[in-house]
């Protein structure tokens, strides 16, 4: 639109090249949540996948840790405009969790302890694109960042990476989750700047 703020120069030492449009780098790890941080004991934790026919697959904490673990290095992009590059996580690929799951559904709704939800097309969770992670930087994931475990879908805005995740519901239609019902985009591709719905 071409409104120039002549007295504004920005932080010239910073390099925001290679970031999605409208994003800036941060070295911190800001915390953003819609409500209180749920307290979830690992012995009570459970992750389940429920298909469109109602078939349910469950993992408790031990069973989840017994699955093949992957180390993931990824750039993350928050819709509030910060990006954090080269973050390190450890967890289980959704490909692994879906090994035994038969489905023809096209969409998922991730559900979290505390009531949060977010929708992600199934194709965006498979093919080495998404994980359930339980470590960040080599340490157990802290509760305010989603521990014991969170979804990690780094190629979408980070609200899709549901904290405190407890399951995935497979759906035939794209059902809006929490932020998607509150003004945010159904898909959330940072490279196309799909912030608001």
């Amino acid at each position: 639109m071409g409104i120039i703020s002549s007295g504004f120069h920005g932080r010239r030492t910073r390099d925001d090249s290679g970031l999605p449009p409208g994003q800036h780098r941060t070295a911190d790890f800001p915390v953003l949540s819609a409500g209180p941080t749920p307290k979830i004991a690992r012995q009570d934790w459970e992750f389940r996948i429920v298909t469109e026919t109602g078939a349910t697959h469950r993992w408790d904490w031990e069973g989840f840790l017994g699955l093949p673990q992957e180390d993931v290095r990824a750039d993350i992009h928050c819709v509030t405009s910060w990006s954090k590059l080269g973050t390190s996580w450890r967890g289980v690929a959704l490909d692994t969790l879906f090994d035994q799951v038969g489905t023809t559904a096209g969409f998922t709704l991730a559900h979290s302890y505390g009531g949060y939800s977010t929708n992600v097309p199934l194709a965006d969770l498979l093919g080495g694109k998404a994980w359930i992670v339980h470590q960040y930087n080599g340490e157990d994931l802290r509760p305010e960042h989603g521990g014991p475990a969170r979804l990690l879908v780094p190629h979408l805005y980070f609200w899709k990476s549901a904290k405190w995740v407890r399951g995935l519901e497979l759906t035939r239609h794209d059902v809006p989750g929490f932020w998607e019902s509150n003004g945010y985009h159904m898909y959330g591709d940072p490279w196309r700047e799909e912030r608001y719905g």
């Binding site: 953003l32 409500g35 910060w82 980070f158 509150n182």
Partner: protein, 242 residues
């Protein structure tokens, strides 16, 4: 939701404290605003470099005027410009207002407990002002934790709006207090003594720095307040899930 950028005129500026400024923006078209929402602001440098930040709206005046309050972050990229350099008559690019969760809706008749840490008071002030403008019958209470008396935003407006049963305000001074007032941080006990009781089932809005929001919301849940009645926002706009 308005996802496009629009020009807005800087209609007025007001120094809120030594480090914070309220900027009155006149939007290009009438806006629909819910108290608690934020605006995205985009600045473009002469060489085309751009930066975007989110700021909570502190006040709205129909049909097209929104106030944001910006705290200058030392070493920040955008806030020093907005607080120190921006002048009346300048233009900014804005997107929004944005947000559908950390908002107060007048059709909700619940009592409302607002809890602010420092500049987290900004979106709560929009709720206080809307509540007053509507002469809304729900009781409001504001608990405002702040470093010292000089750091209080909107002091005169808050004093003018306070009235028993309508808007009750408790200040907590963490570093230095006015004469005769205690200095100290909130803890679980003083928090519980200052907020609306569980039996009134209040809608609770907490905004501030992460440590403040984590501590306060945790104490409230421990004290028996229902987690689904507590809405939180950390500095920076959307209460997302990052």
């Amino acid at each position: 939701m308005s996802s496009a950028w629009h020009a807005a005129d800087v209609a007025a500026v007001h120094e809120e404290t030594a480090t914070a400024r309220t900027i009155r923006l006149r939007m290009a078209a009438p806006v629909r605003f819910l108290p608690g929402q934020h605006l995205d602001i985009r600045l473009t440098a002469p060489d085309g470099y751009q930066a975007v930040r989110s700021y909570s709206v502190a006040a709205a005046a129909a049909p097209d005027t929104l106030d944001i309050t910006v705290e200058e972050l030392p070493g920040g990229e955008v806030s020093p410009y907005l607080v120190r350099k921006l002048s009346v008559g300048d233009q900014l690019e804005v997107r929004g207002p944005v947000g559908g969760w950390f908002v107060w809706r007048p059709e909700d008749s619940s009592p409302v407990q607002l809890i602010a840490g420092g500049s987290g008071v900004v979106p709560l002030m929009a709720m206080v002002r809307a509540h007053a403008a509507l002469r809304h019958p729900a009781p409001f209470r504001l608990l405002y934790s702040v470093r010292d008396p000089e750091s209080v935003y909107y002091r005169q407006d808050l004093a003018a709006l306070a009235a028993p049963g309508t808007l009750e305000i408790t200040y907590v001074y963490t570093r230095r207090a006015p004469e005769g007032r205690p200095v100290g941080r909130l803890d679980a006990r003083s928090l519980e003594a200052s907020v609306l009781g569980r039996e009134t089932d209040p809608a609770i809005y907490i905004c501030g720095a992460t440590g403040f929001v984590e501590a306060v919301s945790g104490w409230l849940v421990d004290a028996g307040y229902a987690p689904d009645r507590i809405r939180t926002e950390r500095y920076g706009g959307m209460g997302g899930t990052a």
